[in-house]
Amino acid sequence: MAATIRRRHGTGFDLVMIAPALALFGLFIVWPAVQALVTSLHAEPTRGGGFVGVANYRDMASDPVFWIAMKNNVLFILCNLVFQVGVGTVFAALIDQGIRRGSTVIRTIIFAPLVIAPVAIGVIWAMLLEPNFGLVRQTFNATGLPFPRQGLLGNPDLAFASIVAVGAWNYIGFMMTIMLAAMQGIPRDLYEAARLDGSSPLQTFWNITLPGVRGALILCALIVVVGSFKTFELVYVLTRGGPGNTTQVLGTYIVEAAFQLFRPNYAAGMSVVVLVVAILFGSLQVWSGRRA
């Protein structure tokens, strides 16, 4: 059918068909990216706005907050890989193999947070973790457990972990769903053969399940890597990068630089860095998808 249409209409027809998508992509993705790149090569408007080449990128290299944000991004990726992909995979395996009753209810409960927008998630958790009257504080008080005076999000040692925990709560369901779908694609008789071979549940998970979901695992990992590198809403709503830059990530620092420090060209430079890294990981995702 497709071949017949192409024969009848030729390449021109193909171009017409993809033109709307190309136009939108060009207008909303490529053009802003080019604008950001061009902007990043110019001085701030307050300093005349002239062409400065890679000066903004040189500034980045010597900006300690940029490196804190970069380090937090990397840390965020690692934590999310463990807590979202890792725990999501374990949950998926438990539901796939171990839980016979109520697995649909459990799946729904775990998946539910994903349908809420990250900003709303942030607002909900900001209220729950509010240091004076939040539900978590009240629960700690009621049970007599110690609770940090400035709350979890105000404590420099606990704020980052709190954001990771909220992120995990938000996305574990998504990762679990992808992994569960992949696991349910593994033929059941492989598990029966493994049982006959004397494979323990842990050996079966390691030797049969994980290799069987390798493609989905890579996909989840790449989604987490790209998503974590671009993360913004959750951190912005919960801590705005604080206290004292301890939870600063590139997303929040870009906004801070652009709208609070009034350095839009510097912020554009950081956006380009995020874009390049995202494109690299995105390409990896497409490449691994093709290989799978």
């Binding site: 494979s199 030797n207 290799p211």
Partner: protein, 378 residues
């Protein structure tokens, strides 16, 4: 090696009982095939022996020890699945050696035993390949290799040839038979293909609706089927059956002729007046001069309603009684016209009579008849 003793084995899924007190003894080294239509309980029985399904009632003993609560891996069995169930990311050697690896056996031992099985199955050149790189027949051999490596007391096969084409299936049948002779392990083989069962097994167990219908050697179930169901299930084409009533001179077929049978000689003197199914295999119906040496010949003029030339022989379809067409065989084929009248000779010495109501064999009782619908032991 070990014997397998199944006693009063039942299986319930919720309120539904799918296996009804099956009794079956399989001798050490014996090759037994479980056959029957879909849903008859043959695979369920096999999976219960394997330990992949729980036992609702009754016992399964392997080598004299009851294994109802024993883990599948500790039963001394190995199973070959219909889908082969090969681990797709492991090499052939990895698949074959996996059981030994998880059991913590030394690498040298794993390598030796895998090599030994590979030699038996002619898989030596394929040990480094993945299952995806193998043909259906090669995958089947790897699945058998995985079973052999474990040196089980009992081999279980669950329709292992169903996914192969007809030619390969014939080759693999020979292969399985050779391996059974070589390894000598007790084998339980599930199939819905009666040709596989007939060619491979020492004994055939025919199942129907969760019960044993007949247990016997291939010759027993073919020549002395215990019921009309077995008669119709075993044999290709199946046995011709027509309903009728026993009379003093033989069987009066519904809407047709009276087939002369010596009822007293068949032990049917007391059954006169009973509704029966009269049966004769296509092999026992042929035109005169077509190589059939009839001990008790009876001839009819038959009208050809269809003919199926098979090369070396032609199947001749003709109306008989009210139950539709019967099939006879021409061993020296010639062109037949539809509607042509030919004389066919029946060998009534090989005729079968079954009770029309219960389907049980009447007269000429075999030692297996008592298994019908009782789940009885052979």
């Amino acid at each position: 090696m070990a014997d397998v003793d199944i006693r009063n084995l039942s299986k319930d899924y919720g309120a539904a009982r799918v296996l009804h007190g099956v009794d079956l003894s399989i001798a050490d080294g014996e090759f037994v095939a479980l056959v029957g239509p879909s849903g008859c309980g043959k695979s369920t029985t096999l999976r219960m022996v394997a330990g992949l399904e729980s036992v609702s009632d009754g016992t399964i003993a392997i080598g004299g020890a009851v294994v109802n609560e024993v883990e599948p891996a500790d039963r001394g069995i190995a199973m070959v699945f219909q889908s082969y169930a090969l681990y797709p990311h492991m090499s052939v050697a990895g698949n074959m050696g996996y059981a030994l690896k998880v059991a913590g056996r030394p690498r040298d031992e794993i390598r030796t035993r895998v090599a030994e099985a590979a030699r038996i199955l002619d898989l030596e050149a394929l040990l480094d390949r993945r299952p995806a790189d193998l043909s259906g027949g090669q995958r089947q051999r790897v699945a058998m290799g995985r079973a052999i490596v474990r040196r089980p007391k009992v081999f279980l096969f669950d329709e292992p040839l169903s996914n192969l084409d007809a030619k390969l299936r014939t080759q693999m049948r020979t292969e399985i038979k050779r391996i059974h002779r070589q390894v000598g392990a007790t084998t339980v083989y599930v199939t819905h293909d009666q040709v596989e069962a007939m060619t491979l097994a020492d004994r055939i167990v025919i199942m129907r609706d969760g019960r044993l219908e007949q247990v016997g050697t291939p010759e027993d179930v073919f020549d002395r089927p215990a019921s009309a169901f077995v008669a119709a299930f075993i044999g290709s084409p199946p046995m011709n059956l027509a309903a009728g009533r026993l009379e003093a001179g033989g069987v009066r077929l519904d809407g047709g002729a009276t087939v002369p049978l010596n009822l007293p000689a068949r032990g049917l003197a007391d059954a006169v007046g009973r509704r029966v199914l009269f049966g004769l295999r296509p092999n026992d119906i042929a035109p005169e001069g077509h190589g059939m040496d009839a001990a008790e010949p009876w001839e009819i003029e038959a009208t050809v309603s269809a003919a199926e030339p098979l090369g070396g022989e032609t199947l001749v379809f003709f109306p008989m009684g009210e139950g539709g067409d019967w099939i006879g065989r021409m061993l020296k084929p010639r062109a037949l016209r539809l509607g042509e009248t030919i004389v066919l000779r029946f060998d009534l010495a090989r005729a079968h009579v079954f009770d029309a109501e219960t389907g049980a064999r009447l007269g000429g009782a075999t030692h297996e008849d008592r298994t019908i619908n009782q789940g009885g032991r052979p």
